[in-house]
Amino acid sequence: MSDLINNLALGFSVAALPSNLLMCLIGTLVGTLIGVLPGIGPLATIAMLLPITFGLPPVGALIMLAGIYYGAQYGGSTTSILINIPGESSSVVTTLDGHQMARQGRAGPALAIAAIGSFFAGCVSTVLVAALGAPLTSVALLFGPAEYFSLMVLGLIFAVVLAKGSILKAVAMVLTGLLLSMVGSDIETGQSRMAFDVPELSDGIGFVQVAMGVFGFAEIMRNLEQTESREIVQAKITGLMPTWADLKASAGAIGRGTLIGSILGILPGGGAVIAAFAAYTFEKKMSKDPSRFGRGAIEGVAAPESANNAAAQTSFIPLLTLGIPPNAVMALMVGAMTIHGIVPGPQVMTKQPQLFWGMIASMWLGNLMLVVINLPLVGVWVRLLRVPYRMLFPAIVIFCAIGVYSLNNSPFDVVMTGLFGLVGYWLMKHDFEPAPMLLGFVLGPLMEENLRRAMLIARGDPSTFVTRPISAGLLAVATLLLVLAILPMMKKQRDVVFTESET
């Protein structure tokens, strides 16, 4: 315990340096801005901002990038509530009840509860990251290739089970991602694989191109289908503070949301989007009167908003302790760390304690900044949203194009991004979820490497995955999850959230 306090004290002494405070502020502000603007996500932004972090000290760079991530979770809720357009995929469920509240003239309390829930979740998960960091690092030392492989299988299964729609299609998407990640050079022999002698492909398909295309550009293409039908709540946002009854109603939801979010964030394959959905569904099931949900129930805002923020933060745990990025944004953080010569994994904590703890402490400070800055800024964000989409999207397109280009100074990358935009558009039209694909794409090389090593160590005997206890346990959980998801009852319930949201 005293270790924990000492470590946190070290962290705060690093995070409170003026330069790092500034980085944190910039990060959270940019993140909120990104979150507010629909069609441009934290992924694209972090990708765009990666090159600038070259010039920054590593701690400052990571603090800023982390700030963008959780700032975006927060900003996304503002648009969900005010105009019924989720600024961020993790805020999709917030639209269900948040926008209803806004229509009933309760936009203020909805925004305030979102902020309070996020802040509470941020505080809890900061402590959680600090507390779990050390023990998980020691667990990481017990992990061999077989365990790593099984852990990633579990993560992918999680992503599949919690994705919406057909399980079969989600698994197929994971495999598509794995397959795409094989393009490039073989890790062990360096032999070119499926690259067709295209020099730009010899290093593999870039993660940023896939992510920006499938999420960013596909989304823009989709948005362009409808002519503008944005509905901004014109009524003045008065009475920002929730009533005592609101607070009482949402306290439990915030607590449960934080718990669910923290757990799902830690598990690979989880992440903010899934956490928000899970928390909302859970809250609806817990409720005495589920019919209130979708009609402006404050718990329906409190739970997912707490959950997505908690998950955004706890998803740093597997990255910092095991070196496995649990979701796409964390994969970009790996990129950012590598730029600075830091290898993510258990050694970060022991070799660079000021980086590890500084980042954790900055998360708490960042959350505080979010509350303080954003409640008064709500008016500014709303005005920003009056910018019509026909002006917004060319700006997003050009920023993304320049961002992708600047990563490698490669025009080929820009075209690839466009290609993946079309792929993403096609996937949407056929009800395929791109998120499992992206996770498969990120975990592909790591999975292959560990699979190969594990098989080599076991002298070609695949039973090694079920005879080693930790690996067997992880796989058992994965199987259980899959079985539960395939049971038709569960499937029906999974669909409830989505079908009711359409009406």
Partner: protein, 165 residues
């Protein structure tokens, strides 16, 4: 890209075209990957070769794709949604134009032209407004990226700066 319209009507034998064609496309992708990785060495002894994992994943994908297509053939589902051409076409064109222009044409020209092309992606485009907006954005980009973020960008076409061509 097809231009089938959504909506009810005679669906024919295929009851869930989204899944059916989606599954078929994945089978196609899997077959393509198997073909593309045909020359890679596979297992030797109990060690994986470079081709083992790609073929493993491709085979699994092929099986799943086929399963999705079969399910889509046998069960009811929504009709294919309409593919819009305009948005995707101009967004993609804008990126291609940017890629073609950025090396020789410089950031200013590439940004301006690709903003204009992208803006044409919606029917709501207003040309006067778009030109003004494109100029503003181009100036913003030309200041932000090379100066604000210190990225190595060439601003003007090469022929002017270097007197080449």
């Amino acid at each position: 890209m097809s231009d089938q319209t959504a909506g009810p009507g005679p669906k024919g034998a295929i009851r869930n075209p989204r899944d059916f064609f989606g599954g078929l496309a994945l089978v196609g992708l899997a077959l393509f990957a198997l073909w593309a990785s045909r020359d890679l060495p596979g297992m030797h002894g109990f060690a994986f070769g470079p081709g083992t994992a790609p073929r493993l994943f491709a085979s699994l994908l092929g099986v799943l794709g086929a399963a999705i297509a079969i399910v889509g053939f046998l069960t009811d589902g929504p009709a294919l949604e309409r593919f819009y051409i305009r948005g995707p076409l101009f967004i993609t064109a804008s990126l291609i134009v940017f890629a073609l222009l950025i090396r020789q044409g410089g950031l200013v020209l590439a940004s301006f032209v690709s903003i204009m092309v992208a803006a044409a992606g919606t029917e709501e485009v207003r040309w006067v407004e778009t030109v003004i907006w494109a100029v503003v954005l181009t100036i913003f980009c030309s200041l932000l990226f090379p100066y604000g973020l210190n990225l190595p960008f060439q601003l003007w076409p090469r022929s002017y700066t270097l007197g080449l061509w």
